[in-house]
Structure formats: C-alpha cells, structure tokens
C-alpha cells in the first residue's frame, strides 16, 4: 500500500502543473478578516454569504460591495482556531430562508463545536432572526484547536458536520461515547438522524470516527459518494471516501508523525481501519473542498478542488481508476494561504484567502468574460 501511494504521489508530481495561463484570477473583495467559508445565494444576482472567523457574517453583492449582516450567535467563542466557521443554506432555503452556521461555543476552559440555525431576511440590507443553537458536540474541552466545522447536505435532507479531536484528546477519536474526532449526521433541526450507525452511542449522532481535524466534506451526487479530507499532523493529510460506521484510523493508524517528530502510532494501516484514498506527506493542510460542476472549466467536471493553508495553493484532483491524482496546482495572490473554495453556478471558482486582510478571489478561464 505504501508503495502504491508513493508511486501515485510521484506520478502526481510529474502530472501537476502550476497555475498556468489558462486560469484568470480576479479580486472580488478584500480587507476581510480571516474569511472562513463561501456560500452563494440562490437568487439570480443574489451575491454570496461569507463568514469571518471573528464572528461576522457578510454579504458580498455581485458588484463586490461588502455588507455585514447582524448576527448574534449563542456563546460564540473566538480565539486561536475557534470562532465562526461555515455557513450553509437549508435545502429549501428559497422558501424557508433558513441558514445553518457552525462555530465554536463556550470558553477557553470549556468549549466545543456548535451548530446554530438562523433565518435570513428576504431582501437587502439582510438581517438574521430566530438565531438558535441546535447542536453542541459533547463533551466540552479545553484549548482552542481542532474543531472541524465543515458541513454537507445529503440527498435525504440530513446534514453531515465534521468535528475535530480537540488536539489534546486525540485518543478520543476512537471512543464512540463522545463526538471528538467524529463526523456526525443530523436532521436540519439539530436532532439526530434516524438511521445512524451507532444509535446507542453518543446520543446516536456519530456517522464515522477516527478523524483528526476534518475541514473538507462534499457529497458527490454523480457517484453517490461522500468525499472528506482531514489534516494529518506532520504528514498524513488524507482524502477519504466516507462511509457510515467506518473507522478512519486516527490516532491508531496514520501516515503522519507528531510536530515534534515523535511517532503518534507505529502503524499506517490496521485491521478495521479504512485506508485514505489519497494522502499528502508532507502536509499541505487542506482547508476546504469543492466538487467541480459547471460550464466555465469544461474539462474539470467531477474533479475535486482542494484548498490548502500551509500548502498555499489549490489542487485539482481527478479520480482515475479508483484513485485520486493531482491534475493541476493553482497558486494565487503571491502564494496566499487559502481557507475556502466554492464553485459558483456559472462555473467560476471562488476562493477565500486566510489572512487578517483576506481576499475573495474568482477564478475563471483566461479569455472568459469578467465578472463585472
């Protein structure tokens, strides 16, 4: 298996191309404080919702103007890696106007990943009402690291939410009696989904376990598969095909070692542990993931776009004979750390850079029409 992955990585190295002149980069907005997620609104010319880790929810109109949307999240906790994470729209958003927001809640000595619902007003200037916390991962923990916080909707209307291991609690990712290092599956009101694989454990929310800090998850409708990625420690970032009830190995099997150089586990593979479909060593720190579907980059259909923090790039990966291979590497804005990637309805790719003066960028093919 090691040889296979090594050869795949070697192959990927020779096939990747750095940002070529086929991709045009436009700055949509700048001066955002650590933007974390991007969500396009469904209305024509409806603009985008953007979260900032500090707790602000923003609306970016099609002309690039940025307006803050008042939002009071219950017990929001902002420090280190904690704060406001992702915003997603309910499947029936156009009629319900319902948003779901993942965020860190609590205090430095007792915090966790929470989920809130809110209603967004129909017209600009936007407002949020009926903000209510509907889920809090258990138990509360100390420190401000590894929250997960990415979400994706499944076709049955349930929601998957990724949860980190809290860094100091890595062994708990193997403990089915809590939510540390798990992916949980919920109903949109925060209640537990009916047919989760461990109904008698941790209030029945667990969908999969053995995760370190997962910040990328997408449902792939064409293949009927859930793709997820997660940060490894020093090496061992992974792309997984997520399946209900499966163990993804952390911290008993990993391709990474600790930041100090110490071994976390002597095993890369163990019975009962699902192997990653792709792994990055050294780590690039994958921060978000989007599945490409659109008209602008016609050759990219079904490819995964993965943004990286430490890696300061976006990678486009293609599924080839059952394994993911890096097809293209795109660097933007003088090698900026990239926090979020999303595909717009017109097929352009939107990125958020991870910085105190963060930018929202739009990628489109060279020669295509500009946004404005």
């Amino acid at each position: 298996m090691k040889k296979l992955i090594f050869s795949l990585m070697l192959g990927a190295l020779f096939h990747s191309a750095w940002a070529s002149n086929e991709v045009k980069v436009e700055v949509v907005a700048e001066g955002l404080s650590f933007p974390w997620s991007l969500q396009q609104l469904p209305a024509e010319q409806g603009g985008w919702l953007v979260t900032e880790r500090g707790g602000r929810l923003l609306h970016i109109a099609d002309d690039g103007s940025v307006n803050a949307i008042p939002l009071q999240l219950p017990e929001l906790f902002v420090t280190g890696q904690s704060g406001l994470f992702e915003v997603t729209l309910a499947p029936d958003f156009e009629t319900s106007r319902e948003l779901l927001l993942s965020y860190a809640c609590g205090s430095l000595s007792a915090n966790t990943t929470c989920l809130a619902r809110a209603s967004l007003s129909a017209n600009a200037p936007y407002e949020t009402t009926e903000v209510k916390q509907i889920f809090a991962a258990q138990p509360l923990r100390k420190g401000a690291a590894h929250y997960g916080g990415r979400m994706t909707w499944l076709p049955d209307g349930t929601l998957l939410l990724t949860l980190g291991d809290g860094f100091d609690y890595r062994e708990q990712a193997q403990n089915l009696n809590n939510h540390l290092g798990k992916v949980v599956r919920l109903q949109r009101d925060g209640s537990v989904a009916a047919d989760n694989p461990f109904p008698d454990k941790a209030a029945g929310y667990i969908f999969s376990y053995g995760h370190r800090n997962s910040q990328g998850i997408v449902y792939d409708p064409a293949r009927d598969v859930i793709w997820q990625h997660e940060h490894g420690p020093k090496g061992g970032d992974e792309i997984n095909r997520l399946q209900a009830g499966k163990n993804y190995g952390w911290p008993i099997a990993s391709y990474g070692i600790d930041y100090t150089g110490a071994m976390v586990t002597p095993y890369q593979d163990l019975p009962g542990v699902i192997q990653p479909m792709y792994q990055w060593t050294p780590s690039l720190a994958p921060s978000d993931m989007a599945l490409y579907k659109g008209d602008l980059f016609a050759q990219w259909q079904g490819d995964l776009l993965v943004s990286h923090l430490a890696g300061k790039r976006v990678q486009r990966l293609r599924l080839n004979e059952g394994t993911w291979q890096v097809e293209q590497t795109i660097e933007v804005d003088n090698k900026a750390r990239i926090r979020a990637v999303e595909v717009a309805r017109d097929g352009a790719v939107w990125l958020a850079t991870d910085a105190a003066e963060g930018k929202i960028l739009r990628l489109s093919p060279t020669g295509s029409e500009s946004r404005r």
């Binding site: 100091d168 062994e171 008993i252 100090t260 110490a262 071994m263």
Partner: protein, 152 residues
C-alpha cells in the same frame, strides 16, 4: 571552561535520550489502552524512530532550559548554601517544568509534547531535566568518591 562545556553537552544529550525514551512509552501506552497491539519489536523500532526524530528537538529545549537554570542553580548554591548537587537536580526539574508550560502557552497547539498532556507525563518528562542536572554536576564537580570510581 572546556570541562564545563563537555559536562553540559553530555548532560543535554543524556537528558534528551532518556526523555525521548520516556515520551515514547507514554505514547505507546495510550495506544495500548485503545487495544492496539504493540510487540517488543514495534516498541524498539518506535524508540529508535523517536530517538532520531524527536530527541533533537527535545535536546534543543533542554539545552535552552539548562543554559538558564544551571547558572541560577550555581548562584543559589553559592549564595544560599546547601548541597550543590540538589540545586542542579532541582534546577533541571523545575526549569523543564516551566519550559513545558511556557512552550504550550506560546506554541500554536495546546500541547507541544503529547506525553506532557497528563500531570504524570509532565512530571516524568521534567525528571529528565533533573537527570540532566545531576549528570552535569556529576561531571562538573564530581565528589571524591565518584572520582575514585573506575571508569569502566
């Protein structure tokens, strides 16, 4: 001066080796609690891995700690009296303990060295500082009976 330098280097290297082996045991114990099989061969290969990859970083931390703590211990011994050896042992222990707290406060991750997540682990790792302090004084100012001991 050369004697001091040699004593210092040996103390740091010895402390780093012992500290590396100790932290490996804590990490493996955590895996065993999760029912992960750890055979003798696996334990030895993990120790060797950590000696190669972990001990240099730990040696750096220990060197910085001892550079500060040992002169303070020497000063205390001179000004306050008492057994010099115990001053150096205490300086290594408490110096490393302070170092863990400071590093965890400054580093982006909550705990830099996983073995120090528990009080037992932190205490055991700090004991390697005590060991390094003992080694240093043992080489720097050996007692008459220690000088009389055969080399081999």
């Amino acid at each position: 001066m050369l004697k001091t330098l040699i004593a210092f280097v040996i103390a740091v290297v010895a402390g780093a080796i012992v500290g590396s082996v100790i932290q490996t045991q804590f990490n493996l114990a955590a895996l065993i609690e999760l029912s992960v099989p750890i055979s003798f061969d696996v334990r030895i290969s993990t120790i060797i891995h950590d000696l190669i990859h972990f001990s240099p970083i730990f040696a750096l931390l220990l060197a910085v700690v001892l550079l500060v703590a040992l002169p303070i211990a020497a000063l205390c011994s001179r000004k306050l009296g008492g057994t010099e050896r115990w001053w150096f042992i205490s300086a290594g222990f408490f110096g490393l303990l302070c170092c863990f707290v400071i590093v965890n406060y400054v580093a982006p991750m909550p705990t830099l060295i996983a073995a120090t997540r528990s009080w037992e682990g932190m205490g055991a790792m700090a004991l390697t500082g005590a060991f390094a302090g003992w080694i240093f004084d043992r080489l720097w100012h050996p007692l008459p009976r220690e000088l009389a001991e055969p080399l081999i």
